[in-house]
């Protein structure tokens, strides 16, 4: 049974008596995620290679610039290529999912106009397909870690925590960005600009320890600092800063809460605009 009442009805499925709404949500999310991956891999010969080629080329460039051209001194840790990749791969997930969420509604307008699946799926599926791509790219990190002789530490156990945190953060941002882009098309370009800025403002080519003291506290406010620190601590325990992780958890919770409110309040207007 579903009830749609004005003005801020929760997104509920028109579920048949035999199927629960929860099962249908998971089924639809899975179908759309598989569709995304299948379209990507069936339309290009290199398929899977493309999703890892991008971070590989990026790391190769930064590795070359910062170890062969400039001498980075004490910034980052050895082996630098593992240091780079351990944050660059989750960054690809973050930037890919956030920039795709600007088109989450506009790209699928026809499908959204014809099905009743909960609208938050359109945000969740962008996150899921980029997240799965991230998981699939982890073997690359493993290969480089072995080849470069990086050591694993017990902090590897924190990987799931980092993934859950990032999932929540990306979902929260998506819930804010996706509906707002429908009303303010300019936001799409603004998001691209902010992402480019954020790449350098987050500890990817450097670690937060390398920052001067007065920037240290500001960097902690960036939820990505804590998350990337968690990822990195598997190879570089010195990069883990529990204060940053704590701030990151709080900021993520706030972003998610704001996202849920924005999404609920704008949903019926989004449907009219599509």
């Amino acid at each position: 049974m579903t009830t749609a009442s004005a003005p801020t009805a929760p997104a509920t499925t028109a579920s048949t008596s035999s199927r629960s709404a929860g099962r249908r949500y998971r089924q639809a999310l899975w179908l759309l995620t598989v569709r995304d991956l299948r379209v990507r891999y069936s339309t290009s010969a290199l398929g899977y290679l493309w999703s890892i080629l991008d971070p590989l080329v990026m790391s190769a460039i930064y590795w070359f610039v910062f170890t062969q051209v400039f001498h980075r001194g004490s910034v980052g840790e050895e082996p630098y290529i593992v240091f780079l990749l351990s944050a660059l791969l989750p960054w690809m997930w973050f930037t890919g999912a956030v920039s795709d969420s600007t088109r989450a509604f506009t790209k699928e307008a026809k499908l959204i106009r014809s099905t009743t699946i909960p609208r938050s799926i359109w945000v969740a599926r962008v996150n899921a397909s980029k997240g799965i791509e991230f998981m699939l790219s982890l073997p690359v990190l493993a290969v480089f870690a072995i080849a470069a002789g990086a050591h694993l530490h017990w902090e590897l156990a924190l990987y799931p925590l980092a993934i859950v945190l990032q999932c929540a953060l990306v979902y929260g941002i998506g819930l804010i960005v996706a509906p707002l882009v429908v009303f303010f098309r300019d936001l799409e370009r603004a998001v691209k600009l902010v992402l480019r800025f954020l790449f350098y403002a987050s500890p990817i080519i450097y670690g937060t320890q390398a920052l001067p003291d007065r920037l240290h506290d500001i960097a902690a406010l960036n939820p990505l600092s804590g998350i990337f620190g968690l990822y990195r601590s598997a190879f570089f325990p010195g990069q883990l800063d529990w204060l940053e992780v704590g701030v990151s958890v709080v900021v993520t919770a706030v972003v998610l809460a704001v996202g849920l409110v924005v999404f609920r309040r704008s949903e019926h207007r989004v449907l009219k605009e599509l």
């Binding site: 579903t2 004005a6 048949t16 089924q27 179908l31 299948r38 499908l111 099905t115 309040r265």
Partner: protein, 256 residues
């Protein structure tokens, strides 16, 4: 077979669709300035200057097994009403309750992806509308047969002709095992023999006890399927009576 052959649903059964004082408004000018303040303002605020009510104060109940035709001129809110019932749009005021699954024949080709094969697309679209993999597997051959595209099962969807695209889409959606069917003039496309086939399918579904919500400009189609008519004009529900009465009122108002 005509609509009148079916037994009239008893009035004691609980309604499957219940619409109470539903209203929805749109911006007259899509380019109208939008501020963040506007976005977060409660929607129960007063009507804004650049907005109009596409539908307002619409109330009716639909009992299981009824076949309802919606009549009215272009732009009087017919398709909007259908979308509200399909719950792909949400009302700005009032309440719309649908107590059963809906098979919406609205923008039926919307879910299909050009780069995937017909087979993948059938599994995708049927799955998004709530069918399980096993159910789709059982129905797959029947869907392909109905669409008459047996030779193109593994062809990318984008390479199909536009007629084939509509046929496969109709075959999938009309195969959904949902108690309520919504039809929005999709049948205006396709060749004559396929259109007749679609009509036969709808009649089958109707005789199987489904509830039909039908929007059309074609009097003949409306009389063929529907026994009850809703006449919409100026965003209001002007008449809720038999389909004959609704068509007569429409003809009287607009000299059809």
């Amino acid at each position: 077979m005509t609509a009148t052959d079916r037994t009239a649903p008893s009035t004691s059964v609980a309604p499957v669709i219940s619409v109470r004082d539903a209203g929805i408004r749109f911006k007259r000018n899509r380019r109208a300035s939008r501020s963040f303040k506007d976005l977060f303002a409660g929607s129960n605020r007063r009507k804004r200057a650049d907005e109009f009510w596409a539908l307002r104060n619409v109330s009716f109940d639909v009992r299981p097994g009824e076949a309802i035709g919606v009549v009215g001129r272009n732009g009087q809110g017919k398709s909007t009403l259908l979308k509200l019932v399909a719950q792909v749009m949400l009302p700005d005021e009032g309440r719309i309750r649908v107590d059963a699954g809906v098979a919406p024949l609205i923008e039926i080709t919307g879910g299909f992806v050009g780069d995937l094969t017909v087979r993948d697309n059938v599994y995708l679209t049927a799955g998004l509308h709530g069918m399980s993999r096993a159910e789709i597997r059982d129905a797959f051959d029947e869907i392909i047969d109905f669409a008459e595209i047996g030779d193109f099962v593994d062809t990318p969807y984008k390479h199909l002709s536009s007629g084939m695209k509509v046929r496969i889409a109709f075959a999938v959606i009309s195969r959904l095992d949902e108690p309520v069917i919504l039809v929005d003039e999709v049948l205006a496309v396709g060749d004559k023999s396929f259109r007749e086939k679609c009509y036969k399918r709808i009649e089958e579904l109707l005789s199987g006890g489904r509830t039909l919500f039908f929007v059309s400009h074609n009097d003949k189609d409306l009389r063929r399927f529907c026994d009850r008519g809703l006449y919409l004009d100026k965003g209001r529900l002007q008449l809720d009576d038999t389909i004959e009465a609704a068509l007569a009122r429409y003809a009287a108002d607009h000299g059809a």
